[in-house]
Amino acid sequence: MPQVESQTVEELPVEELKASLLSLDRLAVRRTMLAAAASSTPVTVIDSLVVPVLERIGQGWQAGEISLAEVYMAGRLVEETVDEVLGAPAASARASAAHPKIAMCVLEDSHGLGKRIVSTCLRVAGFEVLDLGLRRTVEDIVEEVRAKGIEILLVSTLMLRAALAVGTLTRRLAEEDLDHVKVVVGGAPFRYDPNLWREVGAHAWGYSASEAIEVVSAMARA
């Protein structure tokens, strides 16, 4: 996490923003973000306000205190406000050239809500995420990863069938000499079987969307 120049983490109103997001109070969200942006750099606002709020919301979902609908709506609202207050896209707030190339897809399946929530979180955290879409086959993804030089590939799944297909994907990436590509998985099957990500040869997994930020940040630093 970069140095916070003008304010400490405590001084940025993390809890206040979280409460406004969960009550869908658009004006309060905007007010808090404008005030933060007036006294801190965009990167500080992202790292010390927006990301900690998303993390707390993710932890709240994991603990069963916050519902998925709230996670989704909060993500939408924070995305709109970050774009408006800090300038769209948020990713340009950082030196994005230094970032690895990240993409996200839904493998062999049409359940896109997980992808939407995770990519929104990553985007407002300052990462550019290329959307590879829904219902993609293993061979399509291998091709796209090669053609677009993807370095971190996020895969969202909902059905066990799709989660197991990640095993074929990681094997095919290795066969095509693309095993340097980091595969990060998530979605219901991985939550119910915490060993599944290893079994299918992924490099990491995340329980919630905000864990995706942690995992990707660590990979980007490495």
Binding site: S67, A69, H111, Y192
Partner: protein, 352 residues
């Protein structure tokens, strides 16, 4: 320990708050049907005979108590004209949403059950089961009016609708409620003994409580009034404990509990007003050994079996087809071994 009751009596006794001869179980292995019978998923789900046959075969193999006419969730949106996508290695899924924009809701009519082949097949399965397994409890399934729209519209657009267009949301619920009650009643008429009301959206995993009170729970209340039979609320492994009292007030006879929750706590929250059903982890089950399966069943019976009020089941209501036969057999064995009342072994110190 000769069984004093038939499966139907055993399940009925639990659902009416009495203590049966043993803990009943529901091994929901519909997706194993094609492999059991050596046919493709497509062929299987296209034939009432094959689906009924696989239910009878699983009852013979695993000696469990409940059979079902449930095929796959997307069958209900077929009634609205939506396509289903079939896979050979997993359950069918709903295809592209039939409502391409929320404004389509204004023109949406309640479909007629007679016009939908998949639902007619479901009724046929129910009638076959009623004729051929008179001792078994037959469970019909409906998708709740507030959960169906995830398939009709897509999840994102449905959440947007709930928050942004409450009038259209209310109209969609109205159509779905009428459809849901008709579909439930047709299954009861065909011979189902109870209806499993699949409603994961009414779980606090998916929606906040205050919103649920105005939407999912209010809709469930209206729908239950129109269903002429016993209803079980199955939240497809979404959290149920925070809404268990609400469902009890709505008059359900049982609630499904997912693997994320403690089945003993759920039983306590139900306060003997309804049965708890669950909560073996169906996803992890794929990797269990028969010994691990027995341990999970024993623990669940110890936590929730006391004094009746409990049905052993996976936490979702559908065991993935990847789960091997010997694990399912071990679950059944364990229920037959440890599930007889009185459960005197549960008073002994736990084995390590």
């Amino acid at each position: 320990m000769t069984p004093a009751m038939t499966s139907l009596q055993r399940v009925a006794s639990v659902l009416s708050g009495e203590v049966p001869d043993r803990v009943p179980m529901f091994l929901s292995t519909g997706l194993h049907g094609p492999a059991m019978l050596g046919v493709s998923m497509r062929e299987y789900f296209g034939s009432a005979e094959l689906m009924a046959q696989s239910q009878l075969l699983k009852r013979e193999t695993y000696r469990d108590d409940i059979v079902t006419s449930f095929a796959y969730a997307a069958a209900e949106v077929e009634a609205f004209g939506q396509e289903t996508v079939f896979y050979e290695n997993g359950p069918p899924n709903a295809g592209r949403p039939v409502l391409s924009s929320p404004s389509d809701i204004e023109k949406l009519d309640v479909p007629r059950l007679e016009d939908c082949e998949a639902l007619q097949r479901g009724l046929e399965v129910t009638r076959m089961l009623a004729a051929q397994a008179p001792d078994a409890a037959i469970l019909g399934i409906v998708i709740a009016p507030n959960s169906l729209p995830v398939m009709q519209l897509g999840f994102e657009r449905y959440l947007d609708l709930i928050y942004e267009q409450p009038d259209l949301h209310a109209r969609l619920l109205e159509v779905n409620e009428e459809f849901c009650a008709a579909w439930a009643n047709a299954q009861l008429e065909a011979g189902a003994h109870a209806i499993g009301f699949f409603d994961p959206l009414s779980s606090t995993t998916i929606m906040p409580r205050d919103l649920l009170e105005r939407t999912g729970l209010a809709s469930a209340r209206r729908t239950f009034c129109a269903i002429d039979g016993t209803v079980l609320a199955l939240l497809a492994s979404g959290a149920v404990i925070p809404v268990i009292r609400d469902f009890v007030e709505l008059g359900v006879a049982g609630v499904g509990v997912g693997p994320d929750e403690d089945i003993g706590l759920a039983k306590a929250a139900a306060k003997e007003s309804c049965a708890v059903i669950g909560n073996l982890n169906g996803i992890e089950m794929r990797t269990w050994t028969p010994e691990i399966a027995e341990k999970h069943v024993k623990n669940a019976i110890a936590a929730a079996g006391g004094g009746g009020g409990y049905i052993v089941c996976d936490g979702h209501g559908e065991i993935p087809h990847e789960v091997p036969h010997d694990v399912i057999a071990a679950i059944s064995e364990a229920v037959h071994r440890w599930g007889h009342y009185p459960l005197s072994w549960t008073d002994l110190p736990a084995e390590l």
